[in-house]
């Protein structure tokens, strides 16, 4: 990535660590972008809600995506947007997708901290990616399995649960079927 002495900015994590990044990378965060553009920040921006471990991951994401966008843009301009360009950028789209998939292979705690950070820093791509990863963990699981997987504090009793299922009967129809089978089994 062209690190040609473009403006740099310092981000300071909640636990005091400082990260110097090119401004264009930091601006992947809409929150930071507003601080830079509207508030005319000094060189260092404190991020009170993001610790160093998560901030370094976030910066890693932003760096990768800025670089990918720059590469795609330069390819497009040299190929005059012809069909050749379309087939050339596709492999790098795939590469980026693969990279993203690897990026979210983290423990649940880190994933949720990334979601919080993406939410707070307003980085749409990262928020989408991390929320999708969390959703993929929910998909296909029964209520019991979801509770176990996420260690949910189950504050409802079986009677309360039954009540909710009855209220929203239209949402649980096939499960009723399944339970009917349990009776036969």
């Amino acid at each position: 990535m062209a690190d040609n002495g473009g403006k740099k900015i310092t981000l300071k994590s909640s636990d005091g660590e400082e990260f110097e990044v090119p401004e264009v990378v930091a601006m992947e965060s809409q929150t930071i972008r507003h601080v830079i553009e509207d508030v005319c920040a000094k060189n260092s921006i404190p991020l009170l809600n993001v610790n160093s471990k998560i901030l370094s991951k976030v910066i890693e994401y932003c760096k990768k995506h800025v670089a990918a966008a720059e590469a795609a843009a330069s390819k497009a301009s040299t190929e005059e947007g012809t069909a050749a360009a379309a087939s050339v950028t596709k492999p790098s789209d795939e590469d980026l997708k693969t990279w993203d998939a690897e990026f979210v292979k983290v423990d649940k705690g880190t994933l949720f901290n990334l979601i919080l950070a993406a939410n707070y820093l307003h980085i749409p791509g990262l928020l989408d990616l991390t929320c999708q990863a969390a959703a993929d963990m929910i998909k296909g699981k029964s209520a019991k399995e979801i509770r176990k997987f996420f260690n949910l504090k189950n504050c409802i009793s079986p009677e309360e649960e039954e009540e909710i299922r009855r209220e929203n009967q239209w949402a649980f129809e096939e499960e009723k079927r399944t339970r009917a089978f349990d009776a036969y089994a």
Binding site: I138, N154, W170, E174
Partner: protein, 430 residues
């Protein structure tokens, strides 16, 4: 402390949690209501509806195996299974519309399928969806009942809509009658499988002042004009024209038409912004002789592809040649059709004559036709016109098969081209 042992997900703020739930299909999102108190109403704020009939299908092949072996009880009666899943779909979407929060929707995706033995196809819930002011609606409805689908009308006055796509896969095409259309922010409209009459067309363009792109697929078009000041992209795929159609769109940049002409032809008027055009015309057998006024509207194009299914269409298009002005911007031209191009090069010659800056010429050849007639009539000695230079000539089989063109045909074409083009850079045979 082990990261994995704490309930982190429940401590996410509401908007993050609804964002996660928005990545699930609505059925799974709603079913999180039993997880804990925290989750009881979270699903209700998810601004996305993603409800597909398949979500409700209990298929004995793909039932989840928890601890129990769950045997499908439908004894292979697929129709029955589909019908029941449809009923579940209807109950589910009604439940969601009643119980969800009174906040606006962003995106709606619904897929519903009516079987042949169902008495009627009704999608009344669409009105309920429209009341939530979504930005985007994408619907795929398969209607196997043989009865026409009742099309709810509120969607056409849903003032928030920016993107609307309705695909109706039906035995009997659904007629969308004259409805009141008021979609001030609609930029994209896609309709598949409908029959449209003139009243609808007029209301549509008047009621959609922001319409950028329009796609009609497998539609029966009974209207006379497509007239819009703002339309930039128009795609008509496998549509059947029942009236002579005038297209007048001064802002149109891209036009793609694959059309069956049943009655009447096509006129392209007033298209100064048109850059790319793909025009493929087929003809229903009949007495009708379609009038084609195309060249007047194509004069500013940079890329043009014309494909004519019958020699008669070619003759009709040749009648339009007097209306040809110069195609000064034309860089790439592709002409294809079912006539003997090695023998009859007239249409292409005329186009070459009007395209001084043409770089690439593509020819889509019907192998069987091109070699049928007696081989190349000697091109008359007094060939008046010769195009100066073509960078590339490409030859394709009309039906898309690679490697189909015989050496015989290629040679014949090259000989013809030699007569009409002084110099050719390179020639690519597919």
């Amino acid at each position: 402390m082990n990261n994995d042992e704490v309930d982190r997900i429940s401590s996410l703020p509401d908007d993050a949690l609804t964002h996660i739930l928005s990545k699930l299909c609505t059925k799974e999102a709603v079913q999180t209501c039993v997880l804990s108190k925290r989750w009881k109403y979270t699903w209700a704020s998810v601004p996305i509806l993603n409800i597909k009939q398949m979500d409700f299908l209990i298929d004995d092949c793909c039932e989840e195996q928890d601890n129990n072996v769950i045997i499908g009880d439908y004894s292979g009666d697929r129709n029955e299974a589909l019908r029941m899943s449809g009923a579940r779909f209807d109950r589910f979407i009604t439940g969601v519309l009643v119980k969800r929060a009174r906040t606006c929707l962003d995106r709606v995706l619904c897929v519903r399928q009516f079987e042949s033995d169902e008495p009627y196809a009704s999608i009344g819930w669409l009105d309920g969806v429209a009341l939530f002011m979504p930005l985007m609606i994408h619907m795929v409805i398969t209607n196997g009942t043989g009865n026409s689908l009742d099309m709810p009308e509120l969607v056409f006055t849903c003032a928030s809509l920016q993107y609307l796509s309705i695909s109706l896969i039906t035995k009997v095409k659904t007629i969308i009658r004259s409805v009141s259309i008021n979609l001030p922010y609609l930029t994209f409209l896609e309709l598949t499988g409908v029959e449209l009459h003139d009243d609808f067309a007029q209301n549509l363009f008047m009621g959609c002042p922001s319409l950028d792109r329009m796609k009609l697929s497998s539609c029966d078009l009974h209207f006379f004009t497509i007239s819009s000041e703002v339309l930039k992209e128009l795609t008509l795929t496998n549509c059947c024209l029942h009236e002579h159609m005038q297209i007048s769109c001064p802002d149109l940049v891209s036009l793609s038409m694959v059309i069956y002409l049943k009655r009447g032809g096509i006129s392209l008027n007033n298209m100064p912004s048109l850059v790319n055009a793909v025009i493929k015309l087929c003809q229903y057998l009949g007495d009708d002789v379609p009038v084609l006024n195309l060249f007047g509207g194509l004069s500013n194009t940079a890329k043009l592809e014309i494909c004519l299914d019958t020699p008669m269409l070619k003759e009709q298009l040749e009648k339009d040649i007097p209306n040809c002005r110069n195609f000064d911007n034309l860089k790439k031209l592709v002409v294809g059709g079912k006539w003997n191009m090695s023998y009859d090069f007239y249409l292409i010659t005329c186009l070459l004559k009007h395209s001084p800056n043409l770089k690439e010429l593509g020819l889509m050849l019907d192998e069987s036709l091109c070699l049928m007639q007696k081989p190349q009539q000697e091109v008359s000695g007094d060939v008046v016109f010769q195009h100066e230079y073509l960078e590339t000539v490409k030859m394709y089989d009309l039906y898309g098969t690679v490697g189909e063109l015989s050496m015989e045909l290629v040679t014949a074409m090259m000989k013809t081209l030699d007569s009409y083009v002084k110099k050719i850079g390179n020639c690519v045979i597919f």
